[in-house]
C-alpha cells in the first residue's frame, strides 16, 4: 500500500488526464494515516472551472466563477437564482458557457459532454418520475439509458435500490410513494450506473426532519461507502455543514467563498452557553459574561423573543481553547453549566458577512477616491 504513495502524488501533474478518483480513494482505505488522506484530497480535482461565465440576454447567471472541487462531498450553497442549477447544466455539458472553461473528471465540458455524462450521475431538484411504472422498471430503463447492458442494468438496479433503502415497495407504481421514497428513487437513478461523481440538486427538498437526516446520512455514505464524489446543492448551510467536506458558496453567479467545512466551522462557530445561578452569584449569566470579558472574549446576550433569552450567552469560538476557557471560567465561579452548544449558521449569515465586507471595501475605495 505504501508504495503507491509517491505515485499518487504524481497525479498533480497529470490532472488533465481522465482518471478514476475512486481508485485513489479506495487505495486510501488501506492507508491508515490521516495525513495521507488530507494530502490526497488536496491533490486531485474533480471539478475545475476557470472564470466561467454564463450570460442570458437579461441576466448574468454566472460571473467569472473560478473554483476547484476535490473528491469527497462538496456542498454548493446559494440562494435561489444564485446560479447553482446553471453551473450544473454547464458541468453536464448541456449548456455552453458564454466564456471561460470548465473540466469535470479531467474532461472538458465543451467537447466531452457525452463522456462526462456517462461517468456522472444527476439528481434533479424537481419531480422527474412517471407515476405509472414501478421503481424497478424505471431505474432499469435509466440504467440502460446510461449504457448498461440489460442484465447488468437489472442487477445494478436491485443493488442500488437496496442501498438507498427501497425494498418490497420497489415493485409498486411510483405514483403511490411518499416524498421520501420518491427522493430515494431519484437518487437511485443517479447512482445506478456507478458514476464517479454525482450532482444532487436540493436532495432534501420537501422532506421532514427525519427524512432529511436519513437523506444526509445517505449522501455521506455515497462517498464513504460507495467511493463516489458528490456535489450537493442546498440553500441551507447548516445542513451541508453536517455532510460536506468542503463548502462552496455562490451568490449572484459569483464565488463568495470556497473552503473546507472545518475551516468554516472553526472561524464561524458560535457557542451558546447557559449557566445556573448560585447564592454566591445570584445572576450567574452576568457573572460569566463579566469573567469572560475580563479574559478578552466578546460575549453577547442572545436576542430576545427566543426561549431562554437573557439566560443564553453567545460567543464566537476561536478554536478548542475557547471551549476550555468557558469550562474553566464556569468552574472557577462555581456555577453549573446547563448547556454549551454550537449554533448552526444559516446561509444568510455568510451573505451578511460578505455584505459588510463589501461595504467596507466600498468605503475604502471611496476614501481612496478622495
Amino acid at each position: 500500500m505504501w508504495t503507491t504513495g509517491p505515485a499518487l502524488f504524481d497525479l498533480r501533474g497529470t490532472l488533465r488526464a481522465p482518471y478514476d478518483s475512486r481508485l485513489i480513494s479506495r487505495q486510501l482505505c488501506g492507508v491508515t494515516t490521516g495525513v495521507a488522506r488530507v494530502t490526497m484530497v488536496e491533490d486531485v480535482t474533480v471539478i475545475a472551472t476557470e472564470s466561467l461565465s454564463k450570460r442570458f440576454p437579461r441576466v448574468t447567471a454566472l460571473d467569472r466563477l473560478s473554483v476547484d472541487v476535490g473528491p469527497g462531498v462538496t456542498g454548493l450553497v446559494g440562494a435561489n437564482g444564485a446560479g447553482k442549477s446553471t453551473l450544473i447544466k454547464i458541468l453536464l455539458g448541456l449548456s455552453p458557457a458564454t466564456e471561460g472553461r470548465a473540466e469535470v473528471l479531467g474532461l472538458d465540458v465543451a467537447t466531452k459532454g457525452a463522456d462526462i455524462r456517462e461517468r456522472v450521475g444527476y439528481m434533479p431538484e424537481h419531480d422527474c418520475l412517471p407515476p405509472d411504472v414501478s421503481a424497478t422498471e424505471f431505474v432499469v430503463h435509466m440504467a440502460r439509458m446510461s449504457g448498461l447492458p440489460p442484465t447488468a442494468a437489472r442487477e445494478r438496479t436491485a443493488d442500488t435500490l437496496r442501498h438507498v433503502g427501497l425494498y418490497e415497495e420497489r415493485y409498486r407504481p411510483i405514483g403511490g410513494y411518499s416524498t421520501g421514497m420518491k427522493q430515494r428513487v431519484k437518487l437511485a437513478q443517479a447512482l445506478v450506473h456507478d458514476p464517479q461523481l454525482v450532482f444532487l440538486d436540493e436532495p432534501t427538498n420537501g422532506l421532514d426532519p427525519v427524512g432529511r437526516d436519513e437523506m444526509l446520512g445517505l449522501i455521506r455514505r455515497i462517498h464513504t461507502d460507495f467511493g463516489i464524489s458528490v456535489l450537493v446543492t442546498s440553500h441551507l448551510l447548516g445542513e451541508l455543514e453536517r455532510t460536506c467536506d468542503h463548502v462552496v458558496v455562490v451568490d449572484g453567479g459569483k464565488l463568495l467563498r470556497s473552503s473546507s467545512t472545518t475551516d468554516f466551522t472553526q472561524t464561524t462557530t458560535t457557542l451558546a452557553i447557559e449557566v445556573t445561578d448560585t447564592d454566591e452569584h445570584p445572576d450567574g449569566t452576568r457573572a460569566v459574561r463579566d469573567a469572560l470579558h475580563a479574559r478578552g472574549v466578546d460575549v453577547v446576550d442572545s436576542g430576545g423573543g427566543l426561549p431562554g433569552a437573557g439566560h443564553v450567552l453567545l460567543l464566537t469560538a476561536q478554536g478548542e481553547e475557547t471551549y476550555d476557557l468557558v469550562r474553566d471560567v464556569v468552574a472557577d465561579l462555581g456555577l453549573g453549566l446547563v448547556r454549551m452548544e454550537q449554533r448552526r449558521h444559516h446561509i444568510s449569515e455568510v451573505f451578511k458577512d460578505s455584505d459588510e465586507q463589501r461595504d467596507a471595501e466600498r468605503k475604502e475605495a471611496v476614501g481612496h477616491g478622495n
Partner: protein
C-alpha cells in the same frame, strides 16, 4: 471491503450470509447508440402498452384488433365465395381505416412524448450520454414502427388469406408490396405530425384532442372542397386540394405511383407530374416534422 457475517457457523456448513456492501460496476458501458436503441425499444413497447399498466394496454390493443378484424372478415368472405379478387385493394385498406389510424396516433403520440414532458423525465434522459437528436430519432422511429405494425398487419392478413383462396400469387405479392410502401410512408407522416403536436403540450388530453383535430378536420375540409369542386366539374383543382391533408396526400402518392385507385371524388387521382409534387410534399412534411421536433427539444433540455 467485503465483510462476512457468519450466521451460526457450524463447522463445514456452507450457510453464510455475505454482506457484500457496495459493488462497483466494471462491465462495459455501451454508449450512445445502445442508449438510443434502448429508448427506441422501450417507446415501441410502450406504444402497445407493454411494460406499462394493464389499463394502458387496452386502447392500443383494441385498435390493433379493430384494424385486423375487417381484413379477417374480407378474407373469410373471399375464401368462402371463391372470389376472383379481394374485396379491397391492399393500398385502399389504410385509407378506409383512416379513422382508426388517426385515433391510434392521437392516443399514442402524447403517451410517448407528453408524459416525459409532464413528469419532467426529459432532463434525466439528457443528463445521460444521448443527445437531443438521439431522443427525437428514437421516439420518431418508435412511433412510426408502431404505426407500421398497426397498418401492415391487416395487409399481411389479407395476403395470407388471398393465398389461401388461391388467388394469383404474383398479383397479390405486387399488391402487398405496393401496400407496404404506402403504409410505410403513411406511418412516417402520421408519426411525425402526431409527435410534433403532442410535444408542444405536457397535457395528454390536449395532445389527443389536437392530433384528432388536425388529422380529421384537415381531411374533412379537403374532401368537402373536393366534393364541391367535383360537383362544379372543376376536376383540375381536385388533385391540388389533396395536398392539404395528410391522408389525401398519401392517397395521391399511391394513386400516382403505387397503382392504387384514388379515393378522390370522381376517382381522379393526380397525374404523374402532380404525383411528383405529392411525393415531395410528403417527404418535405416528414422532414419538417423532424426539424420541428429537434427545435422543440433543444429548448426543453434540462
Amino acid at each position: 471491503m467485503a465483510t462476512e457475517h457468519p450466521v451460526a457457523a457450524p463447522s463445514g456448513d456452507q450457510t453464510r450470509i455475505h454482506n457484500i456492501g457496495y459493488r462497483t460496476y466494471d462491465g462495459p458501458r455501451l454508449g450512445r447508440a445502445y442508449a438510443r436503441r434502448s429508448l427506441y425499444s422501450q417507446s415501441l413497447r410502450g406504444a402497445y402498452g407493454l411494460g406499462r399498466s394493464v389499463k394502458s394496454k387496452v386502447t392500443p390493443m383494441l385498435m390493433f384488433v379493430v384494424m385486423c378484424v375487417p381484413a379477417a372478415i374480407m378474407v373469410a368472405v373471399a375464401v368462402a365465395t371463391k372470389a376472383k379478387e379481394l374485396p379491397l385493394d391492399y393500398t385502399r385498406y389504410a385509407i378506409v381505416m383512416q379513422a382508426v389510424i388517426s385515433l391510434y396516433v392521437a392516443s399514442q403520440a402524447p403517451q410517448s412524448v407528453s408524459r416525459d414532458l409532464r413528469f419532467k423525465t426529459v432532463p434525466l434522459y439528457f443528463s445521460r450520454p444521448i443527445e437531443t437528436s438521439d431522443y427525437v430519432r428514437a421516439k420518431f422511429a418508435a412511433l412510426a414502427t408502431a404505426l407500421f405494425v398497426l397498418t401492415a398487419a391487416p395487409l399481411l392478413v389479407l395476403y395470407v388469406g388471398a393465398l389461401l383462396a388461391k388467388l394469383d400469387f404474383a398479383d397479390q405479392t405486387k399488391g402487398l408490396g405496393q401496400g407496404l410502401v404506402s403504409v410505410a410512408l403513411l406511418s412516417l407522416l402520421f408519426a411525425g405530425l402526431g409527435l410534433v403536436i403532442a410535444s408542444v403540450t405536457p397535457r395528454r388530453g390536449f395532445g389527443i384532442a389536437a392530433v384528432i383535430a388536425v388529422l380529421t378536420i384537415s381531411y374533412g375540409a379537403v374532401s368537402t372542397l373536393q366534393a364541391i369542386a367535383d360537383a362544379q366539374n372543376s376536376t383540375g383543382s381536385i388533385a391540388w386540394m389533396g395536398l392539404f391533408s395528410p391522408i389525401t396526400l398519401i392517397d395521391g402518392v399511391q394513386s400516382a405511383f403505387l397503382g392504387a385507385s384514388s379515393a378522390f371524388p370522381g376517382g381522379v387521382g393526380p397525374t404523374n407530374g402532380e404525383g411528383v409534387v405529392y411525393v415531395l410534399a410528403t417527404l418535405g412534411l416528414i422532414a419538417a416534422c423532424y426539424g420541428l421536433l429537434m427545435r422543440r427539444y433543444r429548448k426543453v433540455g434540462l
